[in-house]
């Protein structure tokens, strides 16, 4: 059984088609780059997986189930925006995640906070944009989820922290989980990708193993992306 499966999946916003008949089967034990220019349908696909949107046609399945309460317990989702209540302290947020997610690993979260020198007593609204993003990522990656969906996980952090975050992503996911990274900063994450999906105007134009793709084309993923999506 696939961890995530899209069968003839389409989504429209009024008359605008955001996703067009997507067929995608994703297994566990890999890090997948979901890549495409703005408006290609990446966020729509992620929202459908998370149950934040309903498909217009077709279906999306998480571990064989339609998105719902049960699948939400299996997905660790990092949106591309500040989504945590800013009046709460980092420590309160750790307890919040522990209260709602049975798979939340408090020790792992505290260790990561310590490594990044983040004060647990600070309120979110007092933190810098980059530190907020680090806290969001730490909370997401401290779960033992079946699927990690990371929408622009490194966009707001400095280059030094990016390496730590990528290391965190690699070291925290287990062989029976799937990591989906959605980003524009392909060069920074290229080294960790096992598989890539290119989305263009709501359609999958490429779904390949990253190493095979590099060997066949003689280009890196970043170069190939620029070629496929040249303006």
């Amino acid at each position: 059984m696939y961890v995530l499966e899209c069968n003839n999946l389409s989504k429209s916003y009024g008359s605008k088609r955001a996703l067009e008949r997507i067929d995608l089967q994703l297994g566990s034990g890999r890090i997948l780059g979901l890549l495409g220019p703005n408006g290609s349908g990446k966020t729509t696909l992620i929202k459908l997986a998370e149950g934040l949107l309903q498909p217009t046609d077709g279906q999306i399945l998480i571990g064989g189930k339609v998105p719902g309460v049960e699948t939400k317990a299996q997905i660790a989702y990092l949106p591309d925006r500040e989504f945590l209540p800013d009046y709460m302290t980092v420590e309160q947020l750790l307890r919040y995640y522990a209260d709602f997610f049975q798979d939340f690993d408090m020790e792992r979260a505290e260790m990561m906070l310590k490594n990044l020198n983040i004060n647990k007593a600070q309120r979110m609204k007092k933190l810098s944009k980059g530190t907020k993003e680090k806290v969001q990522l730490i909370l997401t990656m401290s779960r033992d989820a079946k699927i990690y969906i990371l929408d622009e996980p490194i966009a707001g952090v400095d280059p030094a922290a990016r390496d730590y975050i990528l290391k965190t992503i690699i070291s925290n996911y287990s062989p029976d989980s799937l990591v989906i990274i959605c980003t524009h900063l392909i060069a920074d994450i290229e080294s960790v990708l096992d598989e890539v999906v290119f989305l263009k105007e709501g359609r999958v134009v490429l779904h390949r193993n990253a190493d095979e793709l590099r060997e066949e084309t003689g280009k890196n993923i970043d170069g190939l992306f620029r070629e496929v999506f040249r303006c």
Partner: protein, 268 residues
């Protein structure tokens, strides 16, 4: 999960409303003391200032309670925090129930604080003993009434339940209007206001339809039936009917909210 949701909801709203209600009660104490100690030259100015302070506390508590409850629903479920809330392993129905119950409890808390502030003013003006000097008579009257009709004791919890249900129905109506407004691409606040007005028109129309039905004798039949009963049975049955009517309205608005948040949700 509903209890966990409610724990965080009460904390989030309480941190804003409890200081507000505290200020309201302090303003009541100051007003009571200023009136109770009137007699010296500065007392008129002190009474005027404390009256303005108390009126300001009353008005701001009512307005801010409404604003905080509306903003809490909008920001927490339909704003950026919605990405966290709808990622929790909690059903949409429970999210709405959490907001409706919390809204109802805080609305009732506001009413209780209003009553309490009036009591505080009376006690600080007249003194505790003079306000409660007739307490023995009141208690003995209650004892006599209970000995004759024990079910009279049920009227207070029944009234509280109906009050909570009415508050829940009102909150569900406001939240349903916000959810309708959120379907609009732009001018979502305007959409929510128009939806609220629309709900009011539908309620009035349905009320008129029910009045028309009464012309055919349905309401008269119910009233005749009530008249033939014991007065306490009438009271309990009236409370039950009021609760049922309010609960049905609350369920309809809850369902509208659920459809829009579960099936038509589109967070920005």
């Amino acid at each position: 999960m509903l209890t966990t949701l409610m724990k965080y909801e009460f904390k989030a709203v309480g941190r804003l409303l409890l200081p507000l209600y505290g200020a309201w009660l302090i303003a009541a104490v100051m007003l009571g003391l200023s009136i109770g100690n009137s007699g010296n030259d500065g007392s008129v100015l002190f009474i005027t200032l404390s009256s303005i302070l108390y009126a300001g506390a009353c008005i701001s508590a009512v307005i801010l309670t409404a604003i905080i409850l509306i903003q809490r629903f909008y920001k927490n479920l339909l704003g950026s925090e919605g990405y966290l809330m709808f990622a929790l392993p909690v059903s949409t129905g429970r999210h709405i129930a959490n907001k409706v119950v919390s809204g109802a409890v805080w609305t009732c808390a506001g009413i209780i604080v209003a009553i309490l502030s009036g009591l505080i003013i009376a006690v600080t003006i007249e003194g505790f003993t003079s306000v409660f000097e007739n307490m023995d008579f009141i208690v003995s009257d209650i004892k006599y009434a209970v000995s004759r009709e024990p079910s009279v004791l049920l009227v207070i919890p029944e009234f509280i339940i109906v009050m909570l249900a009415a508050s829940a129905s009102f909150c569900a109506k406001v939240y349903a209007a916000i959810a309708v407004g959120h379907q609009w691409g732009n001018h979502r606040v305007l959409g929510a206001i128009l939806a609220y007005i629309g709900f009011g028109i539908v309620e009035t129309t349905l009320g008129n339809l029910i009045s028309m039905i009464s012309d055919f004798g349905v309401i008269d039949f119910i009233l005749d039936l009530l008249d033939s009963m014991h007065y306490m049975t009438q009271m309990h049955l009236s409370m039950l009917m009021a609760f049922f009517a309010v609960a049905v309205v609350a369920a309809i608005y809850w369902f509208i909210c659920w459809i829009l948040l579960d099936r038509k949700l589109n967070l920005e």
